[in-house]
Symmetry: C2
Subunit: 476 residues, 2 copies
């Protein structure tokens, strides 16, 4: 038999789910699949399957899949590896559309039993009208569908995450939630015996709710298909951010022991990125920062950055990091300097050449900060503005800790009115007081749609790649 | 006249300080120099100078320097720039040994008046028996001497910071205090009209309390002297970490507008680092991470890293980052794998090839974690162990938030008994719960002398440079 046609609904919005291998120990199952799906707000029918239980967490339990009277769209297999092939046959017999094999212990282990079992489930799936997520993965997260693999934020957003790793997927979703990036859909697909990254990409190219796509890939069965599917998404205006893990030699070995994948050569992946315009990143944090830039920074007209902030040394460091990331920090003309000089003198700052130093830490100095933004935004000399705040400046300048809130007030009041994009660098606080204030500031900025980064490096890196993405789009 | 001989005591342990330009507004002066020195625990004589006040913050105030009856070792000038030359002449007349000019508005401004005034104070100092810190800088921080330029941690440690920037110095001291790095001495020296980085280095080479030295440099008057002074420190077993700001073109311009310094060429600085073995870093955070590695990681026998942690994807990413930073992550022999397999199977992990995945998130799994450390430390196959914990794993694995404390207990219980160095990567938490637990864990690890990093990149980067430093030492 051929493969069933893949529908977005079958993966992310099943109406009924069976949990094969639900624990009869309710305390344990509270944090198992049944408890997790109940917590995720799943509103369809949920069928825990366990031969020794009649009820699990308030739901009727079933001795086996075939004892369930209604249809089952989706099944989660949480069994010891040797029991998986038989369970898969049961799913096929029951007419289940999608099976998520949570169980690990297949090719990734590297022993004979694992390889044999993976081959067996591959061959069972291959000749049946069923689609498979996994094995060795966390499966699906979709707040709208009421489905998740952990107690994750349920706020929806325009980004979809496709991730071979499960721990990494949860971490990325959590990171994102602290930075204004919410995942409307996510899937962790592990060893990819059947469904692989191109399958998900092809679906998402047509998903109206998905505007940005992030991938964590260890290996790929069909590179040509991945290339075509990625191009399709980008042509449809959906940027694709990819963390391709396992590009160095030992990392390739680590990949094999993780999901059993073949990582592929560095050269091949370089060509892939050059040809598709997908944005290459190297850590989970970088995925999130790149999404922050994509979602919250309007397209800059070029690579010229104006830098505004308190602190001379930090300004110098910021300049250097921007330049190392292929951004430019041009010195201002005499005309712009004259405008700036009036403000910085009044505000206690001392640099007007670019970077600009203004005394945002002092009481009443916020007006100077705002004016500096307006001058740079209206000049023809920069394409975007990067501003940095030092959470501990209040210690140095003897002000009150809350001064940072006043600076954020000023920034949020002005940034949307400017004809140039703005990004903020605000490091984590280093004292108890500053940590809390920074956390609140991050939340306020993220919710207001202002791009915030924790370091100059992460900001400059994401902005460089953002601009490169648009430059690619112009060329193709 | 020639220059007075420079003594460490005159800079960091003055017995009497005059504050020329103390404010008669006590509320303002509370966060000014008088208040700051009182808060820093200065126990010598403190003389606020202001022609309009008789008492300031409980101290007798003096109309002018010459009205002070006793000797004055050290003077801080907080005056408008045009008044500085006259005040400097007064200091010379009074026999002050060291003057710190806090005032800015000299060469760094780029205008004629600034240049003229700086030239003037240069020529005054040049022909007198006095030493000058600044202008345009924060001056001295030395908890033991009861002197500081801000409300900074007063705990002492074996590191000294020499920094041209003031805001950066305060930030570095604060960053350090959250990571177990305490600065026994620090100096911000701004435009360096007289005292420059080599002067401080030469003093510190012989300071028994200084074991590690960090520098933030924008420019240097005498490169040959800096080279000799750096070599002297390194030969005496004191590693020198240098952030040379302003290596790119725009950053060189920014340097000029910050401290008026000439930044020098990238090539010249490359040669400097190659010849001295000083450790080159690029951000203030990196200074602190490098000090963490120097202070808390015993010398590894080589570049082979064993990685232990929860999460397959994160393990793959960690491997790749280590390799990109010139570390090696060799696959283990069958013998080591067999030992590990028993542990990981019992603990719910799945990778034994290097990286090792152990189920540290689960209750009772800490024993497996400890065993994995012992196996790697006793094998001949790695030189150091890098372990990573995911603060949000409790969300994914349904455990209690405190599991991380159990993992830290296990780690702190074992790391000092091992014959190999250990470093931990523990990212900031992303939820309210995890943030607090991570903060406590950071403090516990730092106080116990375990090297902790917030990211794989910062860890691998600092460890690479640590090993390179020792390799250099072996060659010379």
């Amino acid at each position: 038999m051929g493969r069933a046609e893949l529908k977005l609904e079958d993966i992310f919005y099943p109406e009924s789910i069976a949990i094969i291998g639900a624990s009869s120990d309710e305390k344990k199952e509270q944090s198992g699949w049944t408890g997790t799906l109940l917590n995720s707000g799943f509103e369809g029918r949920l069928y825990p399957v366990n031969p020794k239980a009649t009820r699990i967490l308030g739901l009727q339990a079933y001795p086996s899949l075939k004892d369930i009277e209604g249809k089952v769209d989706y099944a989660i297999l949480n069994l010891t590896p040797t029991l998986v092939p038989k369970a898969l046959e049961d799913c096929i017999a029951k007419g289940v559309k999608v099976v998520h094999i949570f169980t690990s212990g297949f090719t990734e282990v590297g022993n004979e039993q694992g390889k044999r079992l993976q081959k067996e489930i591959h061959s069972i799936t291959d000749r049946a009208n069923i689609r498979l997520i996994g094995p060795n993965c966390m499966g699906v997260h979709c707040p709208e569908g009421g489905i998740s693999f952990a107690n994750l934020p349920r706020k929806e957003g325009p980004t979809t995450l496709i991730s071979q790793t499960g721990a990494g997927a949860a971490r990325t979703i959590l990171y994102g939630s602290g930075r204004g990036i919410y995942f409307g859909k996510a899937v962790s697909y592990g060893n990819a015996v059947d469904l692989d990254s191109p399958d998900f990409l092809e679906m998402l190219a047509d998903d109206t709710k998905t505007k940005f796509i992030a991938l964590y890939i260890e290996g790929i069965k069909d590179g040509r298909r991945l290339l075509t599917a990625t191009q399709k998404c980008i042509i449809k205006g959906k940027p694709v951010v990819i963390l391709k893990a396992g590009l160095t030699e030992a990392a390739r070995g680590a990949v094999t022991s993780h999901t059993g994948a073949i990582a592929g050569s560095e050269k091949g992946w370089e060509a892939f990125f050059a040809q598709t315009g997908a944005i290459s990143v190297h850590t989970l944090e970088e995925i999130v920062y790149q999404l922050v830039a994509l979602q919250n920074v309007q397209r800059p007209g070029g690579r010229r950055v104006g830098i505004i902030g308190r602190g001379g040394g930090p300004g110098v460091i910021a300049t250097e990091i921007c330049e190392e990331m292929n951004l430019r920090v041009p010195p201002f003309s005499a005309a712009v300097r004259n405008q700036l000089e009036r403000i910085t003198t009044a505000a206690g700052g001392s640099m007007i050449r670019n970077p600009v130093e203004v005394g945002v830490g002092r009481a009443g100095a916020q007006q100077g900060y705002i004016e500096a933004f307006k001058i740079l935004a209206e000049s023809q000399e920069v394409d975007l503005i990067l501003t940095h705040l030092n959470p501990e400046a209040f210690i140095l300048y003897g002000g009150v800790p809350e001064w940072i809130n006043h600076s954020i007030d000023a920034l949020l009041g002005v940034f949307k009115t400017l004809p140039k994009p703005v990004a903020l660098v605000l490091p984590s606080g280093e004292t108890q007081e500053s940590r809390e204030i920074v956390q609140q500031a991050w939340t306020r900025c993220s919710e207001a749609g202002l791009a915030v980064f924790r370091s100059y490096e992460s900001a400059a890196n994401a902005l460089n790649k953002l601009i490169r993405y648009y430059e690619f789009k112009d060329r193709v």
